[in-house]
Each structure stands twice: as structure tokens, then as C-alpha cells.
Amino acid sequence: MKTQPIDQFACTLPPEKRQSVYNGTKATHEKRTKLLAGDFADPDRLRQLAGEVKQHVIENLDTLLPQVEERLTAGGAQVHWAADAAAARRHVLAILQRRGATRLVKAKTMVSEEIELAPFLEAHGIECLETDLGEFIVQIDHDHPSHIVRPIIHKNRREIATSFEKNGLGAYNDAPEVITRRAREFMRKKYLAADAGMTGANFVVAESGRLVVVTNEGNSRFSLAAPKCHIALVGIEKLLPRDRDLALFLNLLARSATAQQLTVYTEFIRGPRAAGQPDGPEEMHVIFVDNGRTDVLAGECREILRCIRCGACMNVCPVYRQVSGHAYRSVYPGPVGAVLSPLLAGEDFLEKADLPKASSLCGACNEVCPVNIPIPDLLLRLRDKGKRAGAASPGLPPMGPWALLASQPVVWKAALIGGRLLDYIPPGLIPVPAMHAWAASRTLPKWRGGVFRKWLRQREKRKTETGERKA
């Protein structure tokens, strides 16, 4: 019996990384909760409402998507469709090649990670630069983001300063302010030289064809101020029906993601720049990416498509806090990833089938989710799906002996007495092989068998006595 891949990864995580992740997630989660409760009389009602709006969206995508396509085209954008990752990559390459573009600056988009865009473009001779500070550091380190909102939550300043030095961004200096200034200097030259800028979209409004992009650093704004061409990569589930929904969603997103009332830059884009505006794209492309989403829509976990990628569920998750993001071996970690990653894996579902099991089903993710996704229910459905598909079972002790113990009072009493021996036998010597795997990563508490019965008997005795005294 062997442990699951996610557990194996967790065992190898250096303690200081675990600590960085733990501190970062906990602080954001606590601030988020305070802010929501302070600003709104009934924040839960807002989460439920937002959940209803998004459920409406995913169940009406077949009418909303053509509607948004029509609005975007009317605004002067060109709309493309990509059924899978390869098609999405081809669209981006074709747009760039048509313009003779060789330099792309990229704001954060999870879809680009999903379709592994950067290595593909580099192989075709196109420089593809991440401009979000965290994503940039991930890029120069040849690492992967470990959190969807805070990609380098697993890194400390010393590691970052070392990679800056290695990459010719100045002599070693680990002051966060110096690191940030150096990135600023380096990046603005890149923006100005770039032929195209890429963004994702946090929301796309069907009634107006408005793309909404939020960032704190201003990198997406720069990517849409300097280059002449804008390419937006958008998952097909990102829609909102109406502009009025934005007030609700922007309020929830900023608080859930980064514990802010509003993200610093919230950009609403309806098309190429206005006539008379000297800066910004003269050409705008929107690529709607499916890449497994319609399969999710057809399945029994479609609620996960409500997700607005805020990261709140990972910040609160006791498992994520211990194992960090890379243990999920996917673009989307944490509770949302435990549902979405196996589903998006398609034929490789079984490789990710351990993820839904890495949860105590405590329900915290559901409670913080700004679109109220019942993640624990979805995890259970996926466990079931995994079982039926023949996923490997993790190291659990067999339940047969337990059934025997629990149904025979004599055996039970004998076991209670014999159990004391466990205090003296190291778990490795327990003569049941199945127990080894299970006990390897756990320490047993001191044996307390029989204590409850004793306590109950005495409690009843005491009750009778005090009862008598009162009388």
C-alpha cells in the first residue's frame, strides 16, 4: 500500500516553504473575513446571490456566448474560438505572425498557463514576457506558480534576490522595495518595445461586450497602453449577464482575493482605443477557450465553472496550507484545483484522482467562496467517479477487524485492555502490515481506551449524589 502523490509531495516540502505558505494564506484569509463582515450587513447573502448569477451564466452559456460575440464584434474586436489548448496556441501565434510581431508582454492569465503558451511561443521565436512581478519571478526561475493570486507565495526574498542577481538584474539585494524597483525599470522598456500585449479577463459582460481586467500592479494597463495589439485569452465560463452584476462581483472579488475593497486598477475594455487616443491597441482579439470546459459542463460537477479565481478557498484550506500549491501538480491548486484539475485532465483523470481525496471535507472552502460553490459535495462526487474509474486507494487500514471489534462486546473489552500495549510498541512493529503505511506519517496519542465508560459511570453516580443532596 503506498501513499498518494499529494502526500508524497507534502512530505518533501521544506519547513520554511510550509511556513511561508501558512503565514501568507492565513493573513489574507483573516483580513478578508474582517473586511467582509465590516463592510456589509450580510456578506453571506452576497455570496449566495453571486453564486446564483454565475449558475445562471453557466446554464445559459449557449445563448450568452453568441450574444457576447455579437457585442464584441460590434465594438471592433475580433472574436476567435478555441476548442482545445492547441487551437488556442495556434490562434495566438497566427495573430502575432500576421502582424510580424516578435515581442509579447503578458499580464496574468491562468488560461495561458493552462495551454502552456509561453514555451510554445518561445519555440516559434517570439519573446513572451510575464509582467506581473510574481509571474515574472516564476518565469526567470523556470518554476510554476503555486497560488492563482499570489504565484510566489512559496518563495522568500532571499530566493528572489538570488534569481535577480543570476538574471542580470543587479547585485544581490533582498529588500522587497529594491526588487520591485528593479522590476519596474526592466519592465517598462519591455512594454514600450513590445508588439502586442496579452491579458486574461476576470469578467466579460454579455449585454455590453465589456471585458473587465483587474490588477494591482498596473501591468495589464501598461500592456494596453504601450503595444498596438491586444490579445485576450478568456475561458468560456467567464461571462456575466449584465453590467449591473459588476458592482456585486468586483466587491466580492477584491475582498476575497486580496482583502481589498477594490483592486487598484479595474479596466473595462470594449474594443480598440478611441479615435484621437495616441496610446493603446489599434487591434483587439478575444480568444474564447474551451479546453475541457464543455465536458465539465456536461458532467455532475458543473458548479465549479462558477469559479472567479479569487484564491480564497486555498487561503482557508488546512490541506493547502500544509502541502502548498505544487503538490496539486496542476495549474489550479487548492480546493478549486482538487475539483477542476482532475476534470480538465480529460484522459489523464486518474493521474489526478488523488486530489479530491486530499480533503477532510471541513467545508471551509464552501464558506468563503464568493460564488458559493459546494466544493465538498463536488469532491465527494469526484471520489465516487475516481472509485468507479478504478483509481488507486490510499493507505487506509482495513475496516474488517474494526467491524468485528465493534460488534462483539467481549472482544471489545479484551481489546481495550490489550490496547494499552500500543503505548509501548513502536508503530513500526505493529504486526499488521496495513497499519505500517498508515502509521508512518502519524503519531498515535496515548491509549485512553475505557476512560469514557469509567467517566460515564462516575458521572451518573455523582448526579445521583447531588440529586439526593438537593432533595
Binding site: R188, R221, F222, E267, P272, R273, D290
Partner: protein, 204 residues
Amino acid sequence: MNDDREVILSRMRGALAPLRKRAAYPNFPDDVAVMREVVDWKDPWSVFCERTRLVNGESMERVEDVVALLKANHWLHGYCDPQLWPRLAPAFGPEFTVETAFDRTRVDDYQFGITRAVGAIAETGTLILSDASTSCRLGALAPWVHIAVLRREEVMANMAQAVALLGDDPNIIWVTGPSKTADVEGILIEGVHGPGRQIALLLG
């Protein structure tokens, strides 16, 4: 590749066909997410000033104050929207070099940029810039200091009102304080790619 459109839409119709009923769009008022303590505030500009301070934004009512701040920091070279400059110029002394055309080959020459805002949101301390109001996007973004000029009556109470007025402009950006990051160990640093100082200036 354009067949992908049909592929996606037909998969989608297939996925949704078995649903007996589609989830309806819920009913809710436009102001459902308006912050409670801000709802009844009367003078939006003073609320704006208070709230923008919370996100390290600044607000000023006199152009002389802006000039004094720039001088004190030796920020003497800047860009100004050509339509605004005639009104502001008298307050700027001869030590200043202010250009009314932004030269993108010298972005780092400009220490400040002055452009017009179309409005502001009191509730969040947010400035609203649009393509129609902003004489040049880079002038409001690349310099260390951005000064956004607006009128008192252009300040709206809350986000719901601002959303209702988004309109047709191809590009609107809401700016809530200076550019910031907390990517390195969660420590807040301002002035990442955009301005490190974000100032709202009242015009008359």
C-alpha cells in the same frame, strides 16, 4: 479553426440539453453591494478624500498645493494634458519643464503626469479615467506621480452608480490609489509599474 465555434456551441448545447430547467437570473437591487457606512454620506468629495487616504491615495483642492509638493520633491519635469495646461500653467514657476505632448521614447524624463479624470467613486476612493478624458494613457501611467483633475460634481457616491454610467467609451479604468504589490513575502510596496503617488486635484 473557425469550426471550433460550432464545435464548442454544439458541445455546449449537448451538455445543457438534459437540464430540465435552467437556473434563472436572480432578482436583486442595483445597490445590493453598497457598503453600509457609506450609503448616506452627503458630500461625495469629502467622502472620496477620506476613503482614498485609506488606500494611500491623495487629494488636493488647490493647484498651489500640488505645485508645492512637486517642488519639495524636486519633481520638476512633467507632462500635462494640452487642454488643462492653460488653466494650470500660472501656478507653475519657471523652474518647471512641462510638456504637452508625451514622447514615448523618453518615458523616464517625466516625473509627473497631469490628465483629466471623468469622475470618481466616493465609496472606494477611486478615480475614473476614460479614453475620452485621458489625453494619453501613458502620460497617466508611466510617471511616478499622476495627478488626475476633476470637478466636485463629478464624484459619485458608490460603485453601483459608476457601473451604471460606464457607457460606450472603449476603455475605462478605475484607479484606486497608487500601483501596488504584495508578491514578495506579503509586504506592501507601492509604485510597481504605474504611479507611486496617485493624486486627485479638484478643478474649481
